[in-house]
């Protein structure tokens, strides 16, 4: 048992548990903003990003991680992000969303992850690789030797910039919330009930996921993989090792993370009495499989899914992740408009 196995699995179980309890899905977060004018989940995402933006610099100062922002290749970020966004609306969940729902017994989520893993592998090493390579190589922008971030384009160090930015954004948020007299919805029942039985509200969800992201970066870096949470790469590892049979493929930290997420969500949903094998019919299975395929291509092309770009990438202040995130949202809104808004306007 290596450190990668134990720590990846452990963080995955925590992450899966929190995802299931918080119903933390970025597909819903992004889509609901436009579709239902509901920003509850987006607030959880925002808190998680700010918590990590505060935590990553501290880890870096302590010498536990080396900040590794994703590169900016605008063509790949744009095309990959939009395709990913379209895919996740069809799949009914983002990369982390469909992964944790496998543990809840959602069969449609299983077909989505099969699509994600398959197309991810085909784009990383199969016949779609030239498309990905072309976009990434020809639109790459660097700042000196480094990937551009909000800090290094101004010649500032990452740590202090991120720390100050997280505090400033947090203060603005608090100010606006107080001005609008926004109330944090209180959960009822005993503490055990609130943790294990009822769904978490957005504030604890965001804080817990942010802290898990910080722990994840630290534990993943100790295992020799210098990045925080990510989903697609772990799924691709399984296909490479067990289906394609690439020699010497190691089941590393990110692959164990996936196993942990499914286990964590399974445990959480069993305790809460929310586990159920849900069969949606073949039409939905095909739709989510197609969505998953688009997500796999998009994630590998853009060098990141919603977790890599939004959850882990924005706290690293990466421009590539920022563009990736915006593109994912654009793709998601476009698809949500086409399949949910337009048919109902007639």
């Amino acid at each position: 048992m290596t450190i990668a196995v134990i720590s990846g699995l452990f963080i995955g179980i925590l992450f899966g548990f929190a995802l299931q309890r918080g119903r933390f899905c970025m597909n819903s977060a992004i889509r609901d903003l436009a579709l239902l004018q509901d920003n509850t989940l987006m607030k959880a995402v925002g808190i998680a990003v700010l918590v990590q933006m505060f935590g990553f610099p501290l880890l870096s100062w302590a010498g536990l991680i080396t900040p590794s922002p994703k590169p900016l290749f605008w063509g790949a970020n744009l095309v990959g992000g939009i395709v990913f966004g379209i895919g996740m609306v069809l799949a009914g969940g983002c990369a982390s969303g469909v992964t944790y729902r496998v543990g809840e017994g959602v069969v449609a989520a299983l077909s989505a992850v099969i699509g994600l893993a398959a197309a991810g592998t085909i784009t990383a090493m199969g016949f779609l690789k030239p498309v990905m390579s072309y976009l990434q190589t020809n639109t790459k922008i660097m700042v000196g030797e480094a990937s551009p971030t909000l800090a290094n384009i101004f010649g500032l160090p990452y740590e202090i910039t991120a720390l100050v930015l997280s505090l400033v954004l947090g203060a603005i948020w608090l100010f606006v919330a107080m001005k609008n007299k926004e109330e944090v919805e209180a959960s009822e029942g005993s503490l055990t009930q609130r943790i294990f039985v009822k769904g978490w509200t957005w504030l604890p969800t965001g804080i817990v996921i942010g802290i898990i992201g910080i722990l994840a970066y630290w534990s993943s870096a100790s295992a020799g993989r210098n990045y925080s949470l990510a989903i697609t790469s772990g799924w691709i590892t399984f296909v490479k090792k067990y289906i394609v049979g690439v020699p010497d493929t190691k089941i590393g930290w990110d692959a164990w993370l996936i196993v942990g997420i499914i286990l964590g969500a399974l445990v959480a949903s069993l305790i809460a009495g929310e586990f159920k094998i849900r069969w949606p019919g073949w039409k939905t299975i095909l739709q989510t499989l197609g969505g998953g395929l688009l997500m796999g291509f998009g994630a590998v092309t853009s060098a990141g899914c919603n977790v890599t770009h939004i959850l882990s990438g924005l706290p690293l202040l990466s421009f590539g992740s920022l563009l990736g995130s915006i593109s994912i949202a654009l793709g998601a809104w476009l698809m949500a408009y086409l399949i949910f808004v337009r048919p109902n306007q007639a």
Binding site: R23, D38, T40, A109, G199, S269, A272
Partner: protein, 80 residues
């Protein structure tokens, strides 16, 4: 005993169909008519009540059945 006008079964449906189907069905109903929704998706059980308020539909009852299954009774506001 509330009289149920219509029943919508969205069990097994993926995100966000439970919400969308509920909202679009309510939109087509007359004021005072009652919609019964059967659902098993935890996020929607929490999200539908939040969004009903904005559309001024009235949530009469949420009943937890076995496992993740829930039954909701909603009185339509009658937008038509």
């Amino acid at each position: 005993m509330t009289e149920i006008t219509k029943t919508l079964d969205v069990r097994g449906k993926i995100c966000p169909y439970p919400d969308m189907d509920t909202m679009t069905t309510l939109k087509k109903m007359q004021k005072g008519e009652v919609l019964e929704v059967l659902l098993d998706y935890p996020l929607s059980v929490e999200r539908i009540p939040r969004n009903l308020k904005k559309q001024k539909h009235k949530l009469l009852e949420v009943e937890k059945l076995d496992g993740p299954n829930h039954r909701m009774l909603i009185e339509a506001h009658g937008l038509k």
